[in-house]
Amino acid sequence: MTTNGSTPKAKPKFAMYWAASCGGCEIAVLNIGEKILDVDANFDVVFWPVAMDAKYDDVEKMEDGSILLTLFNGGIRNVENEHIAKLLRRKSQILVSFGSCATEGCIPGLANLTDIPELFNTAFGTISTDNPDGIRPVYDVEVPEGTLHLPMMFDRLRPLDQVVDVDYYIPGCPPESHQIAAVIDAVLAVLAGEAELPPKGSVLGAGQSTVCDECSRTRNVKNITEFRRIQDIEKIDPDLCLLEQGLLCVGPAARSGCGALCPAVNAPCAGCYGAAPGVVDFGARMITAIASVIDSNDPAEIERIMDGIVDPVGSFYRFNLAHSLLHAGKPAWN
């Protein structure tokens, strides 16, 4: 991969960035196998902190709009994330929100249920942390060489499109490699003049239905009398719908595209591809779905059955709290 456009015929420029994310998206990109060579053959990779050395200054010096395609993964958690998001928006013709964090906040977005002091207390002051002096991070530290800065954290994590204008979305935690490969093929076809760009705002590399539609399990009329956690079930029927077995599976609200990988191995869908087309609020859709299948008309009995759902927000908004209608819990709004 060249760093400075030294090829004879100037190739279009490509960038990838990670903000608040785990790095799984980058691995998913590398998992496309030899297709990564097509990326290198057709693009000049100018900025990709995980894969190559590059400085923010280099990006600042680029002309506005000079990068053709930027894949941005990770949510906007601190001022550095926001700065780079705005910078890359300015420098890129096509900005793609890549992966669940950038698109909907993902797991880091669940921190929106609480406030920063509480987050720090959990991270630096609970039983799993050896921190007898109760040290907490600070944003500015004086050392003999000068002042060191850490980027300041925002009260809430925001998905990319709450900060800058986004052209396309590729959902998934992480996006499946074959889906990434398909998007790359589509981009290459556009570059070759064989295809046109999809309408702005499109969701790429994903299905147009729900995970249930892709799931091979048998579905019957559901009459749920009890929700159970996966560790409390002795033997999971490999062919029967997981929801019917009392496992909280969010397949009815989740977008397809993954091939229903989790239900195939007895794990309920967690909803990493985000809300299915037409679903405004993932949690609201799940409430509707669950309420329809609970087999009781007695309020006390309904409450008892629902007690089996120990963490409604964590179950219904696991990947998209920051992009839900409410964005965050009350403490995060101050």
Binding site: D281, A284, I287, I290, I294, E303, M306, L325, L326
Partner: protein, 155 residues
């Protein structure tokens, strides 16, 4: 402005066959209930997608009153039971988000219960007024809230 008492905005969802008529009955009986409640008529409480409630709260409502026919008396046989199950799960979830359960209420009112409708409307307005404004962050027009400016902290 500040010395005025807080007047909450309550969104009320009513069903075409019972509770909307209860509200109508309250009107024709010249009963008084607070103007804080804005009614939206649905065909049935079973039409109430929880999205409506969440959107109301996210858009600036301080409380939501969901109303429908008494259990067993639904015009569409049993859709109000679905509304009840949705409501119970929604309330549990909203509590986890930090929204007090008094802000979202489910009330059964038949077409003849204008008095009950007016009383329940009064009671949710009083309770939410006591709680104070919800003023959810998404309803405030600024996107960044009180968050630090980029230039101030990013070097």
């Amino acid at each position: 402005m500040t010395e005025k008492t807080f007047e909450p905005t309550i969104i009320g969802f009513t069903c075409n066959w019972c509770s909307y008529r209860a509200a109508d009955m309250a009107g024709t009986s010249r009963l008084k209930y607070p103007a804080n409640i804005r009614l939206i008529r649905l065909m049935c409480s079973g039409r109430l997608d929880p999205t409506f409630v969440i959107k109301a709260l996210a858009s600036g409502a301080d409380g939501v009153m969901i109303t429908g026919c008494h259990p067993g008396e639904c015009h569409y046989i049993e859709q109000n039971y679905k509304a009840m199950r949705r409501y119970l799960l929604l309330r549990k979830m909203l509590e986890q988000m930090g929204i007090e359960k008094e802000r979202v209420k489910l009330v059964w009112a038949s077409a003849a219960e204008g008095i009950k409708f007016a009383r329940e409307a009064q009671s949710i307005v009083d309770e939410v007024r006591a709680l104070g404004p919800l003023n959810w962050g998404t309803a405030k027009k600024q996107t960044n809230g009180a968050q630090p400016k980029e230039e101030e902290v990013y070097a």
